[in-house]
Symmetry: C2
Subunit: 302 residues, 2 copies
């Protein structure tokens, strides 16, 4: 049976990991530049270093550690993943996309830097993410293995992953999707990057197929739970608590899990999914934190 310890408190570890990632991100050389391109670097820093739970890079680091890998090997991939996540937020917030003005408690990138500035900041973060990973591949002891981790992340970010998901999401605004279509949308839009985080961490550590499969199972359940929790918070939270525009899904007519299952149904499903995520890794030694993380996610809407 999997680890049934409900008393483990991972809060401090989550906080420590997130700050570890913050400090590596802040030290990325190309983010400290001044000179002629200063405004671009400022826009990149504004979004990348402007808070955020760092859940994806934390997952990558934790799965690397779970399978006996070294944190220093995983850090470039964790940073790259957060850069890719950040680029996607900047582009998704654009007026031609979701047209959001508030994110992580601050005005969105295009409000501060204009549409062109925001588009370019996103583009630069995306290219920068691959540059960081490729540097790590070039200097790795086992470049092929590290390239596999980077390839996993690239696939999850692209047309068959996050970009495809955002495409479906845009279409859903005008097409009244059913719940099955919503699931396919979220599996790409949110799920793909969770999948990349967990499996790339395992790959960096040199995990075997079974290990990578456990990481994938955990990711799948966590990714969906994460989206459902997000939808619930969109209707139950205040803007101050959440740091982004709330009720925006309802306002834009976008359908969410709450439309199909109600708030209570969503809570139950999030709880079930987080338990299944916990089960996926619970029998692996050292998985206490990941089990706690899955459960604490569902607790946010309890």
């Amino acid at each position: 049976m999997y680890n049934g310890n409900f008393d483990f408190d991972g809060g401090a570890r989550l906080e420590k990991r997130a700050r570890e990632i913050d400090s590596v991100l802040a030290a990325l050389p190309f983010l400290g530049e001044s000179g002629e391109i200063a405004r671009l670097f400022e826009a990149m820093r504004y979004s990348l270093l402007g808070g955020g739970k760092r859940i994806r890079p934390v997952l990558l680091l934790e799965f690397c550690e779970l399978f006996g890998g070294r944190t220093e090997d995983a850090l470039p991939f964790a940073c790259a993943l957060e850069m890719i996540h950040t680029y996607s937020l900047i582009h998704d917030d654009l007026p031609c996309m979701d047209n959001d003005d508030l994110r992580r408690g601050r005005p969105t990138s295009h409000v501060v830097f204009g549409e062109a500035g925001a588009t370019l900041a996103g583009d630069a973060l995306l290219n920068g993410a691959y540059e960081v990973m490729l540097e790590a591949v070039v200097s790795a002891e086992d470049p092929r293995r590290m390239a596999k981790a980077a390839e996993t992340i690239a696939r999850a970010a692209g047309a068959y992953g996050m970009v495809g998901g955002q495409t479906l999401d845009m279409e859903n605004e005008t097409s009244s999707p059913d719940e099955s279509r919503l699931r396919r949308t979220d599996a790409l839009k949110t799920g793909a990057l969770f999948y990349a985080a967990c499996t790339a961490g395992a790959i960096v550590a040199g995990a075997d197929e079974r290990g990578v499969a456990a990481a994938a199972e955990y990711a799948e359940k966590m990714g969906l739970a994460f989206q459902i929790v997000d939808d619930v918070l969109d209707v139950t939270s205040s803007e101050a608590e959440l740091g982004k525009t709330i009720g925006s899904d309802t306002a834009s007519g976008k359908r969410t899990y709450v439309d199909f299952r109600g708030v209570d149904g969503c809570r139950a499903l999030a709880l079930e999914l987080s338990e299944r995520a916990a089960e996926a890794v619970g029998t692996i030694k050292g998985s206490e934190f990941l089990v706690w993380l899955a459960r604490s996610l569902a607790q946010r809407v309890k």
Copy 2:
């Protein structure tokens, strides 16, 4: 002395190379998809397979061959480079950037697919480019060397390269740059990807430092000549000949080399630069085509 043969006719070889790249691009698996994300794939294909001189991927293949590398090793990087070039055109044409409606003789991406569709098609092409390169790295005999080629391309595409150049270019519209600032802009906006094309080709082939330096020298001169020729054609050609909006630089008040040197001065400079590009590789055995290519560029505005 470098190869002084002015009679070599590279036209057929350029055409053959370009069609070789077209067919590899058209066969990329994720561009043939139908299903729910069909509209995204259609937008990717529309811009990537909609013509274009393929000058950057041709340079990559030729520099690989010049230094004894295998074309099949270079092709994924050549395709990726064209995907990156295409993403940059799509984003640069957006209303919030250069707001161009015509490109390669057809309506631009955002005219056909909307702003969101164009932004996402660009994003997907960019991620796809890295996916193609990382696949090649994973399956390479020497993954570290191939990762170096990919890293070179990533650096040239990002904040210190093309994205930085587009940032300066946007600022130049309102700031009346001098010629030196214009050169710095173009060195990033156009030059960086030429640099990546030539040096990544050499790196894939396993060229030594001197070889990579020759490729870099050729690229620098070619990149600037290319931009100057572009500026001249913008004032001397018809829209039908060029397949894109002409006179757009003048209309937007953007300063170009023609403002600083006049059409004749630009012709002379393009000729000089193309000769210096030819010199950079002329002493290397098998460089006839690259010498011809440099010269034929300047001939376009003779």
